[in-house]
Assembly symmetry: C2
Homo-oligomer: 388 residues x 2
């Protein structure tokens, strides 16, 4: 597996910025490549752009089949002609985050070196933050000649980027829809991320992060990380409904099932193993480490001694905050903290808690209330913005 | 590390049963050794015995320092002279579960073989169930000449054993206190256990379960399992209160911290790593696999098509069910299922939900309401039982 160059399928939409970026850690990262996908047409006035920010393991393929897995775009239910985010009307942009592994600069990208023998950054890739991700996105938005985004939206880590956009570039964000997210990453979420990282480090194929030298990937560790994370994306109710205590035959002749009674395994085990094994084929372990760290560092009030209002003082952005009742990873209580912080600076805020038993993943699943909420808010905001 | 023989410190209280046990899976396990600790004195009428059942990673050292870690007994707050479980009055027994690694027969025990060259069972140890654990405990209780236990109590997996005792030997259980437990293991809990197991399998030192042959233990995988489980034992509130987003200096010169910003790590990360690394020194990986499987199989209504009442029909046992408000691993909703099932067969049931932000671990921590509940119920039940 050649991980030293970007695969050709990733080259269809990307821009290289040779001057790169000064990162929050003080490191000057250059060059910076930004891979993205767009849908719809930018209006002559360039006022109809919607930026969609993806989550930890998402990518820019929001409304088209994934080039590696062939699966439909992760929000193809919401983004397209006539859909709540209507590509007949809006110009939709989705950008692979800095630190990612689908074409934007990240740990798998070649590290510039004087003698021309390029190898990947690997674990030497500098620590990045949500702010760095947003700064990289802004390079592309500026490059496109867009001075104001009509809307920025995203779920989970995507929602963190939405908040960072609204705080860092308030004049550039007309409307913001942070979904299933929080104004800072909680101790519990940091804890889960840390276990993910330790699972990757524990893999014999990790090789101190230089696994490409051994033509290997830390697949088992990454799968364990994904399996655990996947549980946190669901809810007890959803797991009971989908799997309960149903059993199925266990695969024979494998070490992975010792101690199984009657050669059976629970369906939920089989499901999780499948989730783990398919994930490692499309995601880079060093990217997983880099991005989970970025999430952990996220705290929109960090510069203001934890005051969550100050970053939004004087904002004219219209906010629509969405949470899901059964989401225990980014619970409604955290969305409420955000709503109250915005209220304290008299921001224009709607706050919708959607009743769902699907857990955190509800933002990615068939949840008609979410579709209706986004359609209504986008349509209303477009009227105020006087978008044709 | 010689794992083929029980260490001598484990030999101070144990009984060998050469005829062993017929396990639920149909395997005849023999011999069976039962390691235990007792506190207080058995009355001449043998009517003052209290059996305490331990949880997944607990053991028989309930009220005295642990021989490996030197830490106080896991319930020394509750068990002792003048304490809620008063050893001046009661004869307290705590037994290492079948499948454990502190002296009772388990995967680390020598497997009988015709040619006398003993090696540990390892992953060939038969799958066991909570019922098997209780049957092994009953061997010892019979051996002690005790025909009725005044009380059986325990938290988490200990609570599962309490329910199994009350269902299998109702005439032997005067009072039962299942704490922070459930009548069956939920899909979410099975899912977490499965990730634990996969983390162990992914460790290069696992060697297909025959790690003793390599003088190794799958320490990193077991630590990952423990770290993840530990998160589930706490609550979001407890983690926020204990750690929040506080940071500390990260250890230098280790691969375990790439991508750290400013050389810092979150305190919750440091705490979890400590939890993981201390655990592996005292617990056997194959025992962890065996016991988590036993928990997954637990469903007190399995033989009655999920009817949770039937196992308790006609019971005279007095039940005191305890749950904790912030326990999301064994939530109050599951305790309530149990209480309703017992109500349907007109059992004598108290049900107490204790308000606590400490999560599942509350049953092991300083929780005065739990102490009061147990003291009150035990004292009241002792009056009915006419214990001197």
């Amino acid at each position: 597996m050649d991980q030293t160059v970007s695969a050709s399928y990733l080259s269809h939409q990307h821009v290289a910025f040779p001057d790169g970026l000064m990162l929050e850690c003080g490191f000057h990262l250059a060059p910076v490549e930004v891979a993205y996908r767009t849908y719809g047409t930018l209006s002559p006035r360039r006022d109809n752009a919607i930026l969609i920010c993806h989550a930890l393991t998402g990518d820019q393929y929001v409304a088209e089949p994934h080039p590696l897995t062939g699966k439909p775009g992760w929000w193809s239910r919401l983004v397209g002609p006539g859909l709540p985010i209507d590509t007949d009307r809006f110009f939709v942009i989705c950008i692979n985050v800095l630190g990612g592994c689908m074409g934007s600069t990240g740990p798998r990208s070649p590290r510039p070196c004087p003698d021309g023998r390029c190898e990947p950054w690997g674990t030497d890739f500098p620590p990045i933050t949500i702010r760095d991700m947003v700064q990289a996105q802004k390079l592309l938005i500026d490059h496109m000649g867009i001075t104001r985004l009509f809307a920025v939206l995203g779920g989970s880590m995507g929602g963190m980027q939405v908040l960072e956009w609204a705080a860092a570039f308030p004049e550039m964000v007309f409307a913001a829809i942070p979904i299933a997210t929080a104004p800072f990453h909680s101790a519990q979420n940091i804890a889960f991320n840390e276990v993910s990282r330790q699972a990757i480090f524990a893999d014999p194929q990790w090789y101190g992060g230089r696994y490409w030298e051994h033509d290997a990937i830390p697949a088992r560790g990454l799968a364990v990380a994904r399996m655990m994370a996947h549980i946190t994306y669901l809810s007890e109710e959803a797991l009971n409904r989908k799997f309960g205590r149903r059993v199925r035959s266990a695969p024979q002749g494998t070490e992975a099932n010792p101690g199984s009674l009657f050669g059976e395994m629970f369906e939920v085990e089989s499901y999780l193993r499948h989730q783990g094994s398919t994930f490692v084929r499309r995601f880079d372990a060093n990217s997983y480490l880099t991005i989970t760290r970025a999430m952990d560092y996220f705290d929109i009030g960090a510069e203001y001694e934890g005051d969550l209002s100050r970053p939004f003082r004087g904002t004219h952005t219209r906010f629509c905050i969405v949470s899901f009742s059964s989401d225990w990873l980014f619970p409604t209580s955290q969305a409420r903290l955000l709503a109250r912080a915005l209220n304290r600076v008299a921001a224009n805020v709607s706050f919708v808690e959607i009743d769902s038993d699907k857990g955190h993943d509800a933002f990615l699943l068939d949840e008609p209330d979410l579709d209706r909420t986004i359609r209504g808010f986008v349509a209303g905001a477009a009227e105020y913005a006087r978008i044709a």
